[in-house]
């Protein structure tokens, strides 16, 4: 019998063609091409079923729906949940409307987000920091008070800073899908919505620590690592051990000789590949507990990737290079001379900032 291969769909993203299986999303097709054309994702998380569609960071324009029906789609679509069609033409970094909408999303996500990166444990490996750096404007137009929340204690391991939450729902899906008892959800509505364990019940099960890894910002952080160090002073090392509960494959984060943090391993899209148990994460911090494999390859999503934030070393973004070659203008030219200079009108300095640690 002949091997029946599934028919592949041809998709073009920013002028680059790729072949993918039917059912693939635009985002996954773009990722297949490479990070240069992959839309940013703040809520989508490949390992979590049902994730995506919420943050709108990944909006793209579909310039042609398919070979059969080449009409453009009327609105920008969330690439993380929109399946490709054969012959689809997608514009991501080459479309000024997309870049403007994305700039808008950065702004929306930041208006209520405390700008407390200097004291936030997530700084340096924060998806929002990266997203804002890559796609945001250099100054703020928000003059109102930022929202605050009542404090909730999630138990001995996980620290919740609700003010930093961007409601990506990743932790909710994690709690739902990899832990057997659901204790975690979203309460309230609109910008008062907050994640919480219902009636402040601590999340107490073997895999609760994974919500820390899936959180794109500093809303859920590791209490055992809190304020211990800045991530860029630590050295990540892949290691494993025989664990009765999970795969035991982790990344150890060293400061000098000391393991100060254990996390799950991430792929190049900053997604956890295998979730790990709380014993590995919180209770196993001696080098002797682990079999060391070697230094972790950090692809992106961390300051540890060399010179990520060095403006003088920044190459113009891929989209700009491509756009310069193919199109006349594109609206995202970052004036690198302005980086680092906060051009805020003086009256904005008088506003009281929210307290750094809630």
């Amino acid at each position: 019998m002949e091997d029946v291969k599934p028919q592949l769909f041809k998709v073009t993203v920013d002028g680059i063609e790729v072949e993918v299986e039917p059912g693939t999303t635009i985002l996954q097709a773009a990722r297949k091409i490479g990070p240069e054309v992959a839309p940013p994702a703040m809520c989508y998380y490949q390992p979590l079923k049902g994730s995506g569609g919420k943050c709108r960071a990944c909006l793209v324009r579909v310039a042609a729906g398919s070979a059969k029906d080449p009409r453009p789609m009327p609105k920008l679509v969330a690439s993380c949940i929109t399946p490709v069609q054969d012959g689809m033409v997608v514009e991501n970094t080459t479309n000024p409307q997309v870049l403007d909408a994305r700039k808008g999303v950065v702004e929306f996500l930041l208006i209520n987000h405390p700008l407390d990166c200097p004291v936030c444990d997530q700084a340096g490996e924060c998806d929002l920091q990266n997203f804002a750096f890559d796609h945001g404007a250099a100054n703020t137009r928000y003059e109102e008070e930022r929202r605050t929340f009542d404090k909730h204690d999630l138990g001995p391991y996980v620290q919740l800073h609700m003010t930093r939450c961007i409601l990506c729902y990743r932790c909710v899906f994690t709690a739902d899908q990899i832990t057997n008892k659901r204790v975690h959800g979203v309460l309230n509505r609109g910008d008062a919505a907050e994640i919480g364990t219902y009636i402040e019940k601590a999340i107490d099960n073997d895999f609760s620590g994974n919500v820390i890894d899936v959180c794109p910002v500093g809303a859920l952080t590791d209490k055992t690592y809190r304020f211990k160090n800045r991530v860029w002073f630590t050295k990540p090392v892949d290691a494993h051990r025989d664990c009765p509960t999970c795969s035991g494959k982790v990344t150890l984060w060293y400061r000098g000789e000391e393991v100060i943090r254990v996390t799950a391993r991430r792929n190049e899209w900053n997604e956890v590949t295998e979730f790990i148990c709380n014993t590995c994460r919180f209770e196993t911090k001696n080098t002797s507990d682990w079999v060391i494999e070697g230094p972790t390859k950090i692809a992106r999503g961390s300051v540890i990737s060399a010179n990520k934030y060095r403006a003088d070393l920044q190459k113009p973004a891929f989209g700009q290079r491509l756009a310069a070659a193919q199109y006349k203008t594109v609206d995202d030219t970052r004036d690198t001379s302005q980086l680092g200079i906060q051009q805020l009108p003086p009256e904005r300095f008088n506003k009281s900032l929210p307290s750094a640690t809630e």
């Binding site: 943050c55 960071a57 109102e144 729902y169 509505r189």
Partner: protein, 446 residues
């Protein structure tokens, strides 16, 4: 006297009871459909009628029905959207409390057409007394053999369930409604898949507004062609309009689509004119989410013709000079109304009702409300106006559900048509914040 499809018998004493409703010719549509027609024939009549969804979007009902997937062995559902919470809209409420059997009859006919054996009416949670009225009506219909097993010996079974909502506007959005009906948090779903393919409990589902469903009895009784003969162009039939604001006779009116807006506002049969001694300043024609129009634009089209109460005529001119029929919430403002305050009030509503799933709506609605609040209370800056336009623009079209658009349009349109009023608030904060102060500058009052 214009034809009344829905409200002909509404003033008959006791019409809320089964017996009186039946005496007025009620439930004949059920008899006709179940005894003499196939489900597809009912769908065909609804298609021919050209009736469009009355919940806001105006999507042709027959077409929506024909999209319903019909896989073997999977139940199909009809869900009636009775969550009516749009500010300015109160027609479904009125219909259900005064003539509940009209909806029940429509539900039976529609469920039969779609092959649904269990159908739901999702009622806004605040309307507990209406829920009791509907439940009583259902019990009466069941006792008379119009609901339950083997209705009228036709072999068709139908169970009707009334489900109170939790009091959230967002649960009027059809997929949030389905989530809520399933017992979950009322977050709108990403589409596709559309409810016609994967709706309630992942089964094919049709969601229709109360008024849409209520018209189906008349269509079955008189035929789709007779319905299509009413109205104008692609706006067939009649529409319930909830009229409120500075008019002499607020209330719910059933009008034939195509009635000139001017007649609707000034004729005694309907709103009866602006209250004595005052002039028309602006109208929100289709519920709080549609663009507000100043007096001259709501009454006349660009070419000088009268604007009509129809889907096409109201949206003539796009958003530059037009608006939408929406759900028919017709709010009239005279010259004493402050547009800034009103816009802030609408904005406050959308900020409060956003479900909070997607970033542009969750953050943008709150931002707009806060800026509008500042302007209204005398703390605005000149750059705030452009900021509002920009925020509205970046919400619109970029969200999961249309609540984002609904929040953006009133703000964008108010600034488009009443920009000098916003500027006056900003440049004269002291004057503008006096009790009862309103802008008295140049504007077209009628």
């Amino acid at each position: 006297m214009a034809i009344k499809v829905l409200t002909e018998h509404i003033n008959v004493p006791g019409i809320e009871t089964f017996d009186v409703y039946r005496k007025q010719g009620g439930y004949t549509a059920v008899e006709k459909a179940l005894k003499t027609m196939t489900p597809d024939e009912v769908v065909e009549e609804v298609k021919k009628s050209g009736v469009r969804g009355r919940g806001g979007a105006g999507f042709p009902m027959g077409m929506k029905w024909s999209f319903l997937a019909k896989p073997e062995g999977v139940p199909r559902y009809l869900v009636c959207n009775a969550d009516e919470s749009e500010p300015g809209t109160f027609k479904d409420h009125y219909l259900m409390k005064t003539i509940p059997h009209l909806l029940i009859e429509g539900m039976i006919v529609s469920s039969f057409a779609l092959g649904a054996n269990k159908s739901f009416i999702y009622v806004r949670g605040e309307l507990m007394y209406v829920i009791h009225i509907l439940e009583k009506a259902i019990a009466e219909a069941k006792a008379a053999g119009f609901l339950g097993k083997n209705i009228l010996g036709s072999g068709y079974d139908l169970e009707l369930v009334v489900q109170p909502g939790g009091g959230a506007y967002i649960c009027g959005e059809e997929t949030a409604l389905l989530e809520s009906l399933e017992g979950k948090r009322g977050n709108p779903r990403n589409k596709p898949p559309f409810p016609a393919v994967k709706g309630l409990y992942q089964c094919p589902t049709v969601v229709n507004n109360v008024e849409s469903i209520a018209t189906t009895s008349w269509i079955v009784n008189h035929g789709g062609d007779a319905y299509a003969a009413i109205g104008i162009g692609r706006s067939t039939g009649t529409k319930l309009i909830s009229a409120s604001g500075h008019i002499n006779k607020p209330g719910v009116y059933e009008i034939e689509l195509g009635l000139p807006v001017e007649d609707f506002i000034y004729a005694d049969e309907w709103c009866g004119g602006i209250r004595p001694g005052h002039k028309l300043k602006a109208v929100v024609a289709g519920g709080s989410s549609v663009p507000i129009l100043p007096a001259n634009l709501i009454l006349k089209l660009g070419n000088g013709d009268k604007r009509l109460m129809s889907y096409e005529s109201l949206s003539e001119g796009g958003f530059q000079t037009g608006t939408m029929l929406g759900s028919g919430g017709f709010i009239v403002f005279d010259e004493t109304a402050c547009i800034v305050r009103n816009t802030w009030n609408f904005s406050r509503f959308y900020h409060h009702e956003s479900c909070g799933q997607c970033s542009p709506c969750r953050e943008g609605t709150g931002w707009m409300e806060k800026v509008l609040h500042r302007i209204e209370y005398g703390h605005g800056n000149q750059h705030d106006i452009d900021l509002l336009v920009d925020v509205a623009r970046r919400i619109e079209g970029n969200t999961i559900c249309p609540l984002g658009d609904a929040a953006a349009w009133p703000v964008a349109s108010a600034i488009r048509h009443f920009r000098d009023e916003f500027e006056w608030h900003i440049t004269n904060p002291h004057e503008a914040t006096q009790p009862g102060a309103v802008f008295k500058g140049d504007m077209a009052l009628v």
